[in-house]
């Protein structure tokens, strides 16, 4: 907070949540103010500022979501008259093996999109932050963020070429004498899902590392000094200081990557399209197939609603956990 803030007295803290805002409101009320109509006019004007954001958001995001919920109660092929079926579409999500497979795959993708990159990012950030100089940090950050910037479709094409039968990976395997292990990775029932998952790891690992690296710079070096005085080794230091103090970064990394894993579509669409067989179908792919080719708009809508609810719950839980005092 700047000196100017302190001088003005009971102004709310920057970025404070609603309690502070309510407190600010009461201080405003204590002051002598113009007639009531003036305040009402000001409040009306304030709403006008919000309108350009609220209008498109409500019309093209919130109402469509509600409409999806409505459609999920019908059996509809997209052309003929829809017929009301109640919650039957949700029942199908639990029983249909294809839909259950999609849920499993989304769960497996969390392993590759969240768990693996966060572990990798944490450990490497801990190692890197121990070096003295910070030369070349900008270059490192620029390169590590590159996968975040390019469209996932392009990422998919990049990796199709890496995984292709004559691609980079098989070439590397042959070069080190492991030619027997080569495979058509994205066409294999065993390997397609891990192969696609590792593309996700590639996209977010750099982000996680840079995120944790910026977090470690916030930690007071004196804490490490004290730990070293007490004879803590690098591993103890990592587990007892670095990991707990990186809680806020942890929450950001987890929400970004879990959302990316659960709502993944672009990457799968371009690399495997859900195949071979159904070995890489995820909810996004099924929603696309069912609604825009399969003539099962109702089931697709139910799946979309379940997906939205699961993502919202996940974000809620992650934020709760991060806000609890360590």
């Amino acid at each position: 907070m700047t000196t100017a803030d302190r001088l003005t007295g009971p102004a709310p803290a920057p970025g404070a949540q609603s309690p502070a805002e309510r407190a600010a409101g009461s201080t405003v009320r204590k002051r002598p103010r113009p007639a009531r109509s003036g305040r009402r006019r000001r409040r009306a004007v304030a709403l006008l500022y919000l309108l350009p954001a609220l209008l498109p958001y409500t019309l093209f995001a919130v109402l469509p979501l509600l409409h999806t919920a409505y459609l999920s109660l019908f059996d509809w092929d997209g052309v003929t008259l829809p017929s009301f079926v109640g919650l039957d579409n949700y029942g199908r999500i639990v029983t249909d093996p294809q839909l259950r497979a999609a849920a499993w795959h989304a769960g497996a993708l969390i392993l590759f999109f969240s768990v693996l990159p966060i572990c990798l990012g944490l450990v490497s950030a801990a190692i890197v932050s121990r070096r003295a100089g910070r030369r070349g940090t900008t270059l490192v950050r620029t390169v590590l963020f590159l996968p975040q910037v390019i469209p996932l479709v392009a990422v998919g094409i990049l990796w199709r070429w890496v995984y292709a039968e004559d691609g980079t990976l098989n070439q590397a395997l042959r070069a080190i004498g492991l030619g027997g292990l080569t495979d058509a990775w994205l066409g294999s029932f065993t390997w397609a899902l891990p192969a696609v998952g590792l593309i996700g790891s590639w996209v977010v690992s750099g982000l996680c590392m840079v995120l944790f690296l910026s977090g470690t710079q916030r930690i007071d070096p004196e804490i490490y000094e004290a730990a070293r005085m007490d004879g803590a080794g690098p591993v103890r230091e990592f587990m007892a200081i670095t990991v707990p103090l990186l809680r806020p970064e942890f929450a950001v990394a987890l929400s970004i990557t879990v959302i990316a894993a659960l709502s993944s579509f672009d990457l799968i669409y371009i690399t495997t399209g859900g195949g071979p067989g159904n070995s890489t179908v995820v909810p996004g792919i099924l929603i696309y197939r069912l609604a825009f080719g399969g003539g099962a708009v109702g089931v697709a809508s139910a799946l979309a609603i379940v997906l939205t609810v699961v993502i919202s719950l996940a974000v809620l839980v992650i934020n709760r956990l991060s806000r609890e005092a360590p």
Binding site: T2, A291, A304
Partner: protein, 280 residues
């Protein structure tokens, strides 16, 4: 540092950091290098992963640009981004300003309502968006896609601009009010000139998200002549999956604008993503 073991440990400790960094950077750059080399190979030649081409065959790029139509696709993407980015930045700025500094009735509830959108995936809205926009004739049009993107990007923008305006010194706004400035004048003359970094970051993020958006244009734009570049790339992959040099060149053309914007504004982009931006 007397025993030899502790010296070795110190040396490995000092080498570990550059080693880890080099490993990470190589992991990012090798697939790019592999694709770049593929794009320079003669068309239709049998390819293996990482091979130097015999000469530089830039004709793949001109083939992708004209024959495969990526020049047109790029232009559609530019048009969409030019509609979405300024409009979304203005809407988010106005709303963020009101929520941070003005006396908005039901402020907390309105803000929560907007933040809800942060966890709505595109899959949750795409089905009715298609049927409803088609019913009012907005599929296959620039406004239809642009409005859908603006709506999807709005929650983060409002969150971002509100956070920014609440960190600005209150005294600045008090002084403006005492001078008799309206809320509009306070925003335009006093706050915005001091908000260049926050607005630039939001603009850069919006550009990247708009450019990279795939599911919305894939569904909302069915007319091949009006597709955006990534959606075009998606269809192209299905059609010409085997002509690797052409596909590689097309991919590089599609990612070039977004990579250039990123390299130019990388500090802004990284700070935006690190503070919790969710990839659109």
């Amino acid at each position: 540092m007397t025993s030899p073991t502790s010296t070795t440990r110190a040396v490995t400790g000092r080498l570990a950091a550059p080693f880890v960094l080099a490993l990470f950077m190589a992991a990012v750059l090798v697939p790019f290098a592999s694709l770049l080399l593929a794009a320079l190979q003669p068309a239709g030649a049998p390819l293996t992963g990482f091979a130097l081409p015999d000469g530089l065959h830039f004709e793949n790029f001109s083939r992708a640009w004209s024959a495969a139509g990526f020049g047109t696709l790029l232009r559609s993407s530019v048009v969409i981004a030019l509609c979405v980015v300024p409009a979304a930045v203005v809407c988010a700025t106005l709303a963020g300003y009101a929520l941070a500094t003005l006396d908005v009735p039901g402020r907390g509830r309105l803000y929560a309502y907007l933040l809800l959108g942060l966890s709505i995936p595109t899959e949750g809205t795409i089905i009715p968006l298609y049927y409803d926009l088609r019913a009012i004739g907005l599929t296959n049009t620039v406004p239809g896609l642009a409005l859908a993107e603006i709506a999807a990007f709005m929650p983060f923008g409002v969150f971002w601009m509100r956070a920014h305006f609440s960190t600005m010194p209150r005294s600045l706004m008090e002084a403006a009010r005492l001078d008799g400035a309206s809320s509009w004048a306070t925003l335009w003359r006093i706050l915005l000139p001091n908000s260049r970094p926050a607005v630039t970051t939001l603009g850069v993020l919006y550009f990247v998200w708009s450019w990279n958006q795939f599911l919305l244009p894939l569904i909302l734009i069915q007319d091949p002549a009006r597709r955006t570049a990534p959606a075009g790339l998606g269809f192209f992959t299905g059609q010409f999956g085997v002509d690797v040099p052409l596909l590689a060149a097309a991919t590089l053309i599609v990612i070039a604008p977004v990579v250039l914007v990123y390299l130019f504004f990388q500090r802004h982009f990284i700070s935006g993503v690190l503070s919790g931006a969710l990839k659109g």
